[in-house]
Amino acid sequence: MRELKVLVACGGGIVTSTYVSSEIEEIARKVNVKAHVTKTQLMNLPSVAKDYDVVFVASKYHEEIGVPVYSATGVVTGINEDEERENIKKVLIELSQKQD
């Protein structure tokens, strides 16, 4: 199984994206998906996203960047967090199966 390349973006690629990436790393570990999570700034997305399998953003993001983008606001705010964790789990598993 190839390692999944995950990109997480927030404003500065530092604070909120660290919340999100630590969640994603934990979920990936639980479902046995190898994932390498990288953090970046939102402004960099259009130019760097294509090197990744999937992008998670802390905000709501609607731009078309050629890679599946999911919002992960819930794991930061704690609102509907369980539902959102399930969703992230599903996305990670689906993507890793697609790669096999």
Partner: protein
Amino acid sequence: MAYIFSAIQYIMDLGAAIFLPIMITILGLVFGLKFFESLRNGLRIGAGFLGISITLDLLIGGMSPAIEYYSALGEGGFTVTDIGWQGISAIAWSTSYALIFVPIALVLNFILIRLRFTKTMDVDIWDYFHFFLGSSICYYVLKLAGIAEVPAFVIGLLVGIATFIVTLKLADKLAPKWQEHYNLPGTTCCNFDAYYMWAINWVVCKVIDKIPGLNKINLNLKWLNDRFGALGETSVVTFIVGVLLSLLTRQNLTNTLTMSITLSAAIVIMPKVIGLLMEGLVPVSNAARKFFKKRLGDDYEINIGMDQALCLGDPVGIECAAIMIPIAIAISFLPGITMFPLSGLGSLIYFTCACSLFAKGDIFKTLLSTSFCIFYTYEIDSWMAPLITQIGVQAGYISDASTLISGAEVEEFHCVLVALLGKILRAW
């Protein structure tokens, strides 16, 4: 009392890279984390600190040929290195206030919710630095004015706490509008800096609405982003800006290349080392959130106070961000501005996404509001540079006060107020 202060003083004298790991380890234990997990978080924060001071050296070193050029010219020009909110936050986190403020604010917030004074639960611990940045500026201003250690420390703390309470109330007020415009139910924004942006944004939009002609301008920037979007990558932007600055300051080829590549490197490295700080804080922040949620129960209607980052998906804000880079550079040439925008350029999206709130999706209003915000920010950041440099030296990040530093966040209202107070007291 005196005993407590001498204990604080002793811990502070150890330096941030030593006392913060200790503090975070203890805080983690308080919120129920295991010892080694807590220790790891603390040590990551220590790594972050040492990393930041190395990166700031790199950044200041990179800027030095340009600053030497302007200093030799005498009056005006760019003599201040922009260390951005990244650098400013790190300085704030390494003052002794970080140690005291976090537990006090958490408990105070909890009490204020129980008293139904506020509905905002601000457990975004990272962003507490906005409040105690004001505390530490106040402390240094009072010390420079000749006020004794203990009263200066206490007054500084009170300034931070007062700002925290004001922010909770502002966040209550903002909540409905924020939730609707950015589609973020159950949350609100506790970044104090966002509120001055919204204040300027509100005024600008009100004024434009009154001016015939201006209120009808309709812009579309989609074509621009399609063509130049990829240039928005931070490393490339900083490199180009470095070349521009080299040309402005008539550097030779060697200096031009060295400066542009060094600056670009510093800007790329900065988020990585500050990310270490953040990684150390995440578990504590999560534990605090769970801790308070459990103890509040379901009897209270609560909005979670969050970082402005959550609203950065705003389509208009994103559309406006790239074009603001050249506009921001142009603004920096206005009289009074001595800080060349560098670290701040990647953060323009915070301004544009905030300014789309009262612009209601109107691109022209968003751009104009953002420009006014940037102008205000650069003017104040330049003005406060000597003071911020002093604090940077005290915090141990820069070795001497010969090169001026400044950056976003110091223009927040409470910081400006204490700086003004300092001017009145002739402290700086």
